[in-house]
Symmetry: C2
Amino acid sequence: MSCKCYAALVPAGPLVPHTIERRAVGPDDVAIDIKYAGICHSDVHQAREEWGSAIFPMVPGHEIGGFVGDKVGVGCMVDSCRECQSCKEGDENYCATGAVMTYNGKYKYKHCQEYTEDGGKPTYGGYAQSIVVDKNYVCRIPDNLDLAGATPLLCAGITVYSPMAYNGLKAGQKLGVAGLGGLGAMAVMIGKAWGCEVTVLSRSEGKREEAMKELKADKFVVMSNDSDVEAAASSLDMIIDTIAAKHDIPTYLSFLRQNGKFVMVGVPAEPLDFHAFAIIPKRKTITGSLIGGIRETQEMLDFCGKHNIICPHELISGDKISESYDRVVKSDVKYRFVIDTSTF
Amino acid sequence: MSCKCYAALVPAGPLVPHTIERRAVGPDDVAIDIKYAGICHSDVHQAREEWGSAIFPMVPGHEIGGFVGDKVGVGCMVDSCRECQSCKEGDENYCATGAVMTYNGKYKYKHCQEYTEDGGKPTYGGYAQSIVVDKNYVCRIPDNLDLAGATPLLCAGITVYSPMAYNGLKAGQKLGVAGLGGLGAMAVMIGKAWGCEVTVLSRSEGKREEAMKELKADKFVVMSNDSDVEAAASSLDMIIDTIAAKHDIPTYLSFLRQNGKFVMVGVPAEPLDFHAFAIIPKRKTITGSLIGGIRETQEMLDFCGKHNIICPHELISGDKISESYDRVVKSDVKYRFVIDTSTF
């Protein structure tokens, strides 16, 4: 089955109209009629080959919303080994031999019809009008959610939801959200629905109004404002850190109360430093989290359905993807670009 | 009540015979006939005023073993606010307004008879023949344990036991111990009694035999040996890091399996750095821990009683304290110096 898509034909090339072939629908597969695809910052990194050698042509997109009769979604993974302890426990995202990523990956496991002796055919993502995916890696999107707005939940939503669940965040606790891009916005909305008091930790005053009014955050701390920083000391139970640039970890740690947890989901290029005294005296924790498993992604979607949470977004046509990439890099988006694949 | 002790009369001065006055025994107090005091590396730091301004004359010692009829012990704290959430939950070590340390502290809370308007009288520690302590800060030492060998449990023991308990270490899991001084030795012995497979992570080959034969460790990794390091990759559930000097955190993190925890109890002077990629892909955790609460210290002593664990040590007389300090700095001790106070 051939389908229209947008692809980067060469590293750092523009995203241009292209056509790819999808595999025949096997007994465990579903063919998804894709309507929307979110643009994640990691799409930009990979299409521009900033994370090491990549596979071209590349069809990015791991926030996929479409139909198989019902509304469905696909996130960052389309396959995994299914045999390791992580896979068996539903943590396919931590598959011991590596999950097959939705694009810029290879179908490397024998159980897939696209497996080949030389390492498997490449995966192509969601900037396309269709995709064929093993049904075990597809989630249901609740009926009440707008499909375009629900699409970013498949990466931005699960990435912040999973560490809240795994690290035992409780209703009534105080949650900090560092950085207010797509992940940060989702963390604020999901945190509020979780029953937490949510404080946004932002590097600029400029986002205060949208954080408080649109996203319903409870407090707003500007990191460059000493009195803001002082007032927030030792007040938070958990911080979800979505910042992907170098930042001053010890100051963020100072916001945690005893036993507080600092969870990194953004990946700055540089190493980060901290002093042991920043964590020992109040038994603080620095930890990380990588997207989430399929079962947990479904749980997150159901949670968002119950609380009517979708990601605020800007809908764009295919011809605007390259331009949108530049805006993503400048953080000039509230909070996600979602591509309308009917424009391909 | 006056009592003989060893004290540093001036910063970085030698430890010399001295006499101090202990308070009258109040209704909540017990007077302990001290027999032994352990030498902790932090005694050296404080007597030499390496951790900022200190109180002199100073009588160090926060590993105290003696008698009040029964065998008893006192650790790092002799008082706390008793009103904050941490104190109420038995985490006096994390007292919100600060526990009163056993020496080089001040009796700053009104409920103590040594409280004064100008901030309280100073505390004097265990290098002495007696001490008067509120009974709520005194623990029972099990009858079957040798008192001299049990004395270091009051700091070195609880410091490694507490994070094992708090972080949910389970029998059958794989524990790494980084650094093999007093704390490291206790971590190996307690970890074995916990039912764990224990791997020592050491910077030198020299400690292999004592780790394996005397302390009964299961495995020994020399950090400078590439094949040792490679073989240990992704194998450990938890690492107790007792190293108080700068070290390469990412290499230690590489030993953790998915969801593994790296617990810092040693405090290097320098900041430590790591890359977010060292913790995110396998959801690893870096955390810290500071001694333990009184209830938990009792639990640890009972655990050690049940498993017949004492700290291997070298018994010294008072006149050898200053010389022993130099040997502590050179790590020339297996694994703790314990002072026999009958020699004062």
